[in-house]
Amino acid sequence: MSDDTRIGIDLVERAAEDNNVETPYVLELFVTGSTPRSIRAISNLKALCQEYLHGRYVLHVVDLYQQPELAKHNELVAAPTLIKRLPEPIRRVIGDMSDTAEVLAGLNIATA
């Protein structure tokens, strides 16, 4: 497991110096501690972003156990929950992100 999947730290993967980016995807993933499901979600999502959004996304991973007030603030019900802040409209995907097609559909990412 790489450093990237550590819990409790906001992982920010900056878009590379790619200039061909239209709109950067701003994603927030809320997980609950280092449960297998949380870890699975993070790695699944990272892999997906690498593949489909390479260089044009920002991902924050939030541990709700450490910031429980964010659960109410973001009106979360399920965990893990991925919120796509940008581009509009805001979308949510719940689950461990194992169903890649669903995640892509939920995020409105065209798989050309």
């Binding site: 429980p68 109410k72 399920a78 965990a79 719940i94 689950g95 669903e102 995640v103």
Partner: protein, 581 residues
């Protein structure tokens, strides 16, 4: 009726186990509910409150929290899955709960959990840990002991994977139990089961069913404790109502007949009527039913009682047909002035339209009035109008509860009841008469083209009461009972009575005249006879005088004869007889 007093064998076994500890209960503070459940909801366990939409689930739950925070020092969290926080605050403010204040004081916390399916998709495994975190955070932030999950089932609309949801709910209830939080979970009824999603499977400690029925356009709310594990509870359907003070659950009746009785007497306000009841009137704290057809003078009799009982004590007159001013005016026309009593504050007239609200509301309003005014007696005129606010059996149940309460407080109650003409008179009130200690009956007797009012005591427990049917008049000086008058064909009333009285009076006069005439005749004869006697005795006297005179002259002549003879003999020279000395 009443709470079952026997423990079921199962419960007994559980309670006898070594670890037995009485189930501790969290008081709800909801009026009447803690009585019915023997102390409230199971402490530290979840309770399911279910019912159709609009039956008062949310209010029940909210009152549980608010009273917990204000009366029992237990803070609470309200998790709403339906209504927004501002809506909730607004709704309960209308029934007198200052939710905003409680939230500011950190006694109550609101959290709205909504799921918007439209902008959400599912990709793989998930759980509801976020809900747990939110609830846990809310609980910890104010140290809550109570929680409400208002319509948890809404969650089922938000997720496609029902299996996950069910296992998560199970986990949620276990989690709440482990934390020792007293929880109220509301759920909507659906189909034939208690809840749409079968939540009762998970929450099995205590299940309460609320119901809101409309029968004949009158709504009645009812509550039933379907299940209460490890505790005795009333199994009846208890009516409840929602008013400005929140929910009030009303036990159908006191479970036992154990109120004290008084042998003190109170007047009915009508002298003749008191006389009919052992000469002293009613027992204090007894219940009187006065039945009669329309226009027989029931209200007038009741007003007499109200006037008499407000002389030194306090009385409330509940009127369900007339307004206070109408009663005052009408009673003034028969010489009863209620105004001084009203002004002195010892008498109060409360008028309401029976159909205005349901029976429970009426009962509660009356009990509240009795609580605040604390009268020694009440008048309810007429009781029968409650039938129009509910069914006969509901009305009866209400009267049972009212009579129970009044008796337990020693309040003398005077009920009037309108019976329908044509129906067997006594049969109409059979339903409630058994509750009454005294049953008076007024009726109109129609004969000779007129109607006359009659009154009799049908029953009166514990006293030697008159068996007579008495005629009474409503005069300008109030109600007056007339003396019993029995003619040759039974009791006579009205003009028949007057006619007979007149005839008898005439006969008596005639009799007198005759006897007078006879008397004078005798006198005349006596005088005549006396005159005759006088004449005769005069005659007798005359006779006697004459005979005396005659006797004397005979004597004289005889003496002369003797003398002549003697002189002749002397002249002849011899003594005539031997007796001559």
């Amino acid at each position: 009726m009443g709470t079952p007093r026997l423990r079921s064998p199962l419960v007994t076994t559980t309670l006898n186990s070594p670890t037995r500890r009485p189930l501790s209960k969290a008081r709800t503070g909801i009026a009447g509910f803690d009585d019915v459940t023997g102390g409230g909801l199971p402490q530290g366990r979840p309770t399911l409150v279910c019912g159709y939409a609009g039956c008062g689930k949310t209010l029940f739950a909210m009152e549980f929290l608010v009273r917990g925070a204000t009366q029992f020092g237990e803070t609470g969290v309200f998790v709403s899955f339906e209504e927004s926080e501002s809506d909730l605050v607004e709704n309960v403010t209308s029934i007198g709960f200052d939710l905003t204040g409680l939230i500011e004081e950190n006694l109550i916390r609101l959290d709205q959990i909504t799921i918007n399916r439209a902008d959400m998709s599912e990709a793989g495994e998930y759980d509801l840990e976020a809900v747990f975190i939110r609830i846990g955070h809310a609980i910890d932030s104010i140290g809550a002991r109570r929680i409400v999950l208002d319509t948890l089932e809404t969650l089922f609309g938000g997720f496609t994977n029902e299996g996950i949801l069910r296992s998560e709910l199970q986990r949620l209830f276990r989690w709440l139990k482990d934390r020792g939080i007293t929880a109220v979970i509301t759920a909507e009824r659906g189909g034939g089961s208690l809840t749409r999603q079968g939540l009762e499977e998970y929450v099995s400690d205590c299940v309460i069913l609320l119901d809101h029925r409309v029968i004949d356009q009158v709504s009645t709310r009812r509550m039933r404790i379907v299940k209460y594990r490890g505790s005795l509870h009333g199994t009846n359907e208890y009516p409840f109502l929602i008013d400005v003070d929140g929910i009030t659950v009303m036990p159908l009746s006191a479970s036992c007949l154990d109120y004290g009785t008084s042998s003190e007497r109170v007047s009915t306000g009508v002298k003749g009527l008191d006389a009919m009841m052992g000469g002293q009137g009613l027992y204090r704290g007894s219940s009187v039913l006065l039945s009669g057809t329309a226009g027989t003078g029931k209200t007038s009799l009741a007003a007499h009682f109200a006037l008499a009982s407000s002389a030194a004590e306090k009385c409330v007159y509940f009127a369900f047909q007339e307004s206070p001013s109408q009663i005052i005016r009408n009673m003034r026309s028969i010489g009863l002035d209620l105004t001084p009593r009203l002004n002195s504050g010892r008498l109060e007239i409360v008028s309401a339209r029976p159909s205005h609200y349901g029976l429970e509301m009426h009962l509660s309003t009356m009990l509240k009035k009795i609580d605040s005014f604390s009268p020694q007696s009440i008048v309810l005129d007429p009781l029968s109008s409650f039938v129009s606010a509910g069914s006969v059996s509901d009305a009866k149940a209400m009267v049972v509860r009212l009579v129970d309460t009044l008796k337990s407080r020693g309040i003398t109650a005077y009920f009037t009841s309108v019976t329908l003409g044509g129906v067997a008179l006594e049969a109409t009130d059979m339903e409630i008469s058994s509750l009454m200690d005294t049953w008076l009956f007024v009726k109109q007797d129609e004969s000779n083209g007129e109607r006359n009012r009659l009154l009799y005591v049908l029953k009166s427990r514990g006293m030697n009461h008159s068996n007579q049917v008495r005629e009474f008049l409503i005069t300008e000086e109030g109600i007056q009972l007339r003396e019993v008058y029995r003619g040759p064909h039974g009791v006579l009333t009205g003009t028949a009575r007057v006619a007979l009285e007149n005839r008898e009076r005439a006969e008596a006069a005639l009799h007198l005249e005759e006897s007078l005439r006879e008397k004078s005749l005798v006198e005349v004869r006596r005088k005549m006879i006396e005159a005759q006697i006088a004449a005769l005795s005069a005659e007798l006297l005359a006779c006697e005088v004459e005979s005396d005179r005659r006797g004397k002259s005979i004597e004289q002549s005889r003496a002369q004869d003797v003398e002549a003879r003697e002189s002749r003999a002397r002249s002849r020279g011899y003594v005539l007889n031997g007796d001559q000395k």
